[in-house]
Amino acid sequence: MADKEPCLIGSRITIRGQVSGNQDLIVEGRIEGRVSLQNKFTVEESGQVEADLEVAEAALHGQVRGEVVATHSAHLHPTARVVGTIRAPRVVIEEGARFSGQIDMEVELPADVRAK
């Protein structure tokens, strides 16, 4: 289908369970569970996400707790509050964003550096 209109979870909506799909998703409300998305996942400032994320691109402005796996990039904007693990080839943390947890950018070191 051609319509790739962004999907919006409004500020007074809560979803518990598994969300999957291949279109952009914007969260102003609350998601608990698991999100698998082949596109961009945006958590707005009012958004609260307590879930493991498997997305292409994560743009985080709100509160996130869980494991964030992004195949492309994870971007923590100044209002983001994130607790958990971030795994992505590109991770951006802006001034003002709060983060607690582990970041894994899958750094490729030359073989002679990696070897002990």
Partner: protein
């Protein structure tokens, strides 16, 4: 910030290629174009658009169906099955409208 652009009425929209397996609760209107399995409880209007699939028990203020709904439905005001609606399940609502062309299998309880 990406506010109010490309947004139909600012309401919650479950897009056509989104699948939700679980529970949706909320106090604002909800429009479904994709697939929802589980349970839906909203304090406002729930719209199931053409092409959408809902396999869930539903509680809502009102319900408008143009897509496919399987499950029991409890609505406080009004249920409307539009002409392209396909619904299987029991409906409990004070007002029920079934348009010509809609298909429905189940029990209707208007609390007469």
């Amino acid at each position: 910030m990406a506010k109010d652009k490309d947004r139909p009425m600012g309401n919650t929209v479950i897009g056509s290629s989104i699948v939700i397996d679980g529970e949706i609760t909320g106090e604002e209107p909800l429009t479904i174009l994709g697939t929802v399995k589980g349970k839906i409880v909203v304090a406002q209007n729930l719209t199931v658009e053409p092409g959408a699939t809902v396999e869930a028990n539903v509680e809502a203020q009102s319900l408008t169906v143009s897509g496919r709904v399987t499950g029991n439905v409890t609505v406080r005001e009004r249920v409307e099955l539009r002409s392209d609606a396909k619904m299987v399940g029991d409906v409990k609502s004070p007002r029920v409208v079934i348009a010509d062309g809609a298909s429905f299998k189940g029990n209707v309880d208007m609390d007469v």
